[in-house]
C-alpha cells in the first residue's frame, strides 16, 4: 500500500524480519481484525468511491499506527464492484465466505448496496452502509419514510446522508436568505437523485414553495441545454440541482453560459475535490448544502457541531500529507467509516477466531454506538440504524473560496 513507501528503511527491515519469523507477520500481539471493504472505484460513481477509499484507508492507517484495536491490527480486504450489481454481489459474498471478514463497509451505489443488505442480514454479517439510498437499512417491501424501527435489518447500519435534511436546509435557505417563492428542480436519474426528487415533491408545499419546473439528466449526459431551455422558459426565482455526479456541475456551468442569472443551489457532491479541481472555476456563485468538513473556517460552524472540529483538522492534515490535496467531505466520510468500525470493534472486543460470535458482538456494538464524534457525522446510531450527518449552507466565492452563507 501507499504508506509502505512512507516507512523508514529500519522499520521496513524489521517488518521484513517479522514477516520471515512470525506467520502472522505483524508487530501486533493479537491476531488481526479482518474487515471487508467494497465500493465502486470505477464506473460512473468511481470518483466518489475512490475518494471514500482514500479517507477510509487513511483512518485505518492511523488506527494501526496507534497500535490497532486492543492490540489487534486492522486488516482491510478491498474490492471494486465497478458499479455493477453482479460484481458487487459476488465481491460481497467473497468477503463473507472466502475472506471470512468480521464486518463489511462501503458501497455508495444504491443498486449494489440494496442487493447486498439482505445478504448481510442472511449471513449475519454486520454491514455499515455509506452513500447509497437510505432504503438499504429497511427490510424489503417496507420502504417508506420515516423508516419503521421494527422493520429495519438487524445487521445493516448506515450513515444517514439524509436527502430530507438536505432538501429542507435548502428550502429554508432559499426562502429566508434568497427570498425564493418559485423554484426549478434538476436531478440526476440515479436512485439517489430519484429518491431526492420524491422527497422534494413530498415536502416543497409544506415549505411554502412553488415548483415551476422539474428536469432530470442521465449520469453520462454532457449537454444539459435541452433541460435548461425548458427551465428558462418557466418563471422561477432559483434552481435546485440535486446530483451525486460531475454532471451536476455541468448543469450549473451550462446554465450560466445560457445566461441564467438566478441563484442556483446544489448539494454537497459539487464540492467534492475532483469536481472542484476541474470545474471549480465555473462554479463561482453556486450555493451548496455541504457538510462540516467543507466549511473553510471551522470556527464559524454552529455550536452543536463544534466537537467535530479537532477530528476535521486531523483529516485535513492526514489527507494533505498522504494524498496532498484538500480534504473534502467524502474523504472525511471514509475516515469516519474507519473510525466507526474501530469504535464498534473496540467496544465489542471480539475474538476473531470465533467468527459467528465475533460478528454478533460487533453488530451489537455497532448498533448501540453512542455519542460518536467524526469529521463528517456525529451523534448516536438511531433506532433505524442511522447516524446523523449535520449540514451547512455555503457559497462558492471567487477562486473557489468558500463563504458561509448563513
Amino acid at each position: 500500500m501507499k504508506n509502505r513507501k512512507g516507512l523508514s528503511k529500519v522499520l521496513f527491515f524489521l517488518l521484513l524480519v517479522g514477516l520471515l519469523l512470525t506467520p502472522c507477520g505483524t508487530a501486533f500481539s493479537q491476531p488481526p481484525y479482518k474487515i471487508g471493504y467494497t465500493n465502486c472505484h470505477s464506473g460512473w460513481l468511481g470518483f466518489m468511491g475512490s475518494a471514500w477509499r482514500d479517507g477510509f484507508l487513511l483512518g485505518v492507517e492511523e488506527i494501526n499506527a496507534a497500535g490497532g484495536i486492543n492490540g489487534h491490527k486492522l486488516n482491510v480486504v478491498l474490492y471494486d464492484d465497478e458499479s455493477d450489481v453482479a460484481k458487487g454481489v459476488l465481491a460481497f459474498k467473497k468477503l463473507i465466505d472466502t475472506d471470512k471478514v468480521l464486518m463489511i463497509t462501503g458501497q455508495n451505489q444504491s443498486g449494489v448496496a440494496i442487493a447486498c443488505a439482505p445478504i448481510a442480514e442472511q449471513s449475519k454479517v454486520p454491514y455499515l452502509g455509506i452513500g447509497a439510498s437510505r432504503w438499504i437499512v429497511a427490510k424489503p417491501g417496507k420502504w417508506q419514510l420515516p423508516a419503521d424501527p421494527t422493520e429495519v435489518f438487524d445487521y445493516v447500519a448506515k450513515f444517514r446522508v439524509d436527502a430530507q435534511t438536505h432538501v429542507e436546509a435548502m428550502y429554508a435557505f432559499a426562502k429566508k436568505r434568497l427570498g425564493v417563492k418559485k423554484f426549478a428542480w434538476v436531478n440526476s436519474s440515479t436512485a439517489f437523485g430519484m429518491n431526492c426528487k420524491e422527497i422534494m415533491q413530498a415536502t416543497y408545499k409544506l415549505a411554502g414553495l412553488e415548483l415551476s419546473a422539474m428536469e432530470e439528466y442521465g449520469t453520462n449526459d454532457s449537454d444539459m441545454t435541452s433541460q435548461l431551455t425548458r427551465i428558462k422558459a418557466k418563471d422561477f426565482d432559483a434552481i435546485i440541482i440535486y446530483s451525486s455526479d460531475p454532471a451536476g456541475a455541468l448543469v450549473y456551468k451550462q446554465a450560466r453560459e445560457m445566461g441564467i442569472t438566478k441563484p442556483i443551489i446544489a448539494d454537497a457532491p459539487m464540492v467534492a475535490t475532483p469536481i472542484l479541481k476541474t470545474l471549480g472555476q465555473y462554479l463561482e456563485g453556486l450555493y451548496v448544502c455541504v457538510h462540516a468538513p467543507d466549511v473553510p473556517d471551522l470556527n464559524l460552524l454552529p455550536k452543536n457541531v463544534q466537537p467535530m472540529v479537532p477530528v476535521i483538522n486531523k483529516v485535513r492534515k492526514g489527507v494533505m500529507e498522504k494524498y496532498n490535496h484538500r480534504a473534502d467531505w467524502i474523504n472525511a466520510y471514509g475516515y469516519d467509516g474507519a473510525r466507526m468500525v474501530a469504535d464498534a470493534l473496540r467496544r465489542a472486543a471480539p475474538d476473531p477466531t470465533k467468527l459467528e460470535e465475533a460478528r454478533a458482538k460487533i453488530r451489537q456494538a455497532l448498533m448501540s454506538t453512542k455519542g460518536f464524534v467524526g469529521a463528517y457525522a456525529m451523534g448516536d446510531v438511531t433506532a433505524t440504524h442511522e447516524l446523523r450527518v449535520p449540514v451547512v449552507m455555503i457559497r462558492l466565492g471567487k477562486g473557489q473560496k468558500f463563504e458561509l452563507a448563513e
Binding site: S189, S222, D223, Q254, T278
Partner: protein, 293 residues
C-alpha cells in the same frame, strides 16, 4: 423564452452534440471500409484525445500544441492497435474481430484508469468571448468550435478520398481488397492508415468537446455506441451520410429531451430509427450493401 427560441436552442444543442456523434461515426466508417471491422474502441480514441490534451496542458504546454500532441499520439496508438491486435487475426470471423475491438476498448479504459484514475478533466474554452445570443437562444462559442472542427474534418476527408493518391488507393482497397493488392496496394498498410486516421479524428473530437463537456476515463464506450448508431444510420459508405446520421441522432436526442422527457433522451431517436430502418434497409443515405457484414 418563446417556443421558437426553445426549438432554436434544442437545435443548437442537437447539432453540437450530433457533430461529435458524426465524427465518431466517420471513425467507424473509415475503419470498416478497409478492414470490414466495427471498431468499438473508437470511443476510447476520443477519450485518449481529451485526456492527453488535458495532461499536456496541465504540464504547461500551449493549448493548441497540447491538442496536437494528443492527436498525434492517439493516431500512432490507433495504427499500433491495428498492427498488433486486428491485423494478426484479419481472417477470423467478423464477429470475433468486433469483440476484439471490445476487448481493446476495455483494456484502454483500464490503462487510463491506472494512469489517470477516475477523475474527470476539462480544458479552457478555445476562445475568450463567452456566448452568442440569437434572440433568446444562446450559442456557446465552444459549440461552434466543435461544429466547425467536424465540418473541417469531413471536408478534409472528402478531399483526401477524392483527390489524393493515397486516398484513392484507400478507396480502392475499401472497394475490393484483393483487386487493390493486385494493384500493388498494401491492404495491411491501408488498414493501419485507416485506424490511424480514425484514431486521429476521434482524438481531435475528444479534445474539442472537453471544454464543453469535460472528459474522463469512462466516456469511451458511450461515445462509441452513439457513433456506431450514427454510422449505421448514415449508411457506412458515404461521408455526407454519416454526418447527416450523426446530426440526426444528436438533434433527435435534443428535441426528445426538450419536448418529451429528458429520461427518454436515448430512446426516442432509436425508436424513430427502428421505423426508418424498415423502409431504408441501407440506412438513411447508404445503399443496401452497407447492411451486409
Amino acid at each position: 423564452m418563446s417556443m421558437y427560441d426553445q426549438l432554436l436552442q434544442f437545435l443548437i444543442a442537437g447539432i453540437s452534440i450530433g457533430s461529435i456523434y458524426a465524427v465518431m461515426g466517420l471513425g467507424f466508417m473509415i475503419v470498416y471500409s478497409v478492414t470490414r471491422v466495427m471498431n468499438f474502441a473508437q470511443g476510447e480514441f476520443a477519450m485518449l484525445g481529451g485526456m492527453l490534451s488535458t495532461v499536456f496542458y496541465a504540464k504547461g504546454l500551449p493549448l493548441s500544441f497540447s491538442i496536437l500532441c494528443a492527436v498525434l499520439i492517439t493516431t500512432a496508438f490507433g495504427m499500433f492497435l491495428h498492427r498488433a491486435v486486428i491485423y494478426p487475426i484479419r481472417t477470423a470471423p467478423v464477429f470475433t474481430l468486433v469483440l476484439v475491438t471490445f476487448g481493446a476498448s476495455i483494456a484502454i479504459r483500464g490503462i487510463s484508469l491506472i494512469i489517470w484514475g477516475t477523475d474527470f478533466r476539462i480544458l479552457p474554452p478555445f476562445s475568450k468571448l463567452g456566448a452568442i445570443h440569437l434572440a433568446q437562444a444562446v450559442i456557446n462559442i465552444q459549440a461552434l468550435w466543435v461544429i466547425g472542427t467536424t465540418l473541417l474534418m469531413a471536408i478534409v476527408l472528402f478531399l483526401f478520398f477524392e483527390y489524393t493518391v493515397p486516398g484513392k488507393a484507400f478507396r480502392a482497397s475499401s472497394i475490393n481488397a484483393l483487386g487493390a493488392s493486385l494493384m500493388g496496394i498494401k491492404t495491411e498498410r491501408m488498414g493501419s492508415i485507416a485506424f490511424g486516421l480514425a484514431a486521429g479524428l476521434g482524438a481531435l473530437a475528444g479534445a474539442v468537446v472537453t471544454p464543453m463537456m469535460t472528459t474522463s476515463s469512462e466516456i469511451g464506450l458511450g461515445l462509441a455506441i452513439k457513433g456506431f448508431i450514427a454510422a449505421i444510420i448514415g449508411g457506412l459508405n458515404r461521408i455526407e451520410g454519416i454526418i447527416v446520421g450523426g446530426l440526426t441522432l444528436g438533434i433527435l436526442e435534443a428535441f426528445g429531451a426538450g419536448l418529451i422527457h429528458s429520461g427518454f433522451k436515448d430512446v426516442i431517436p432509436l425508436l424513430i430509427f427502428l421505423v426508418v430502418l424498415n423502409f431504408r434497409r441501407g440506412g438513411l443515405l447508404g445503399d443496401a450493401e452497407a447492411g451486409k457484414i
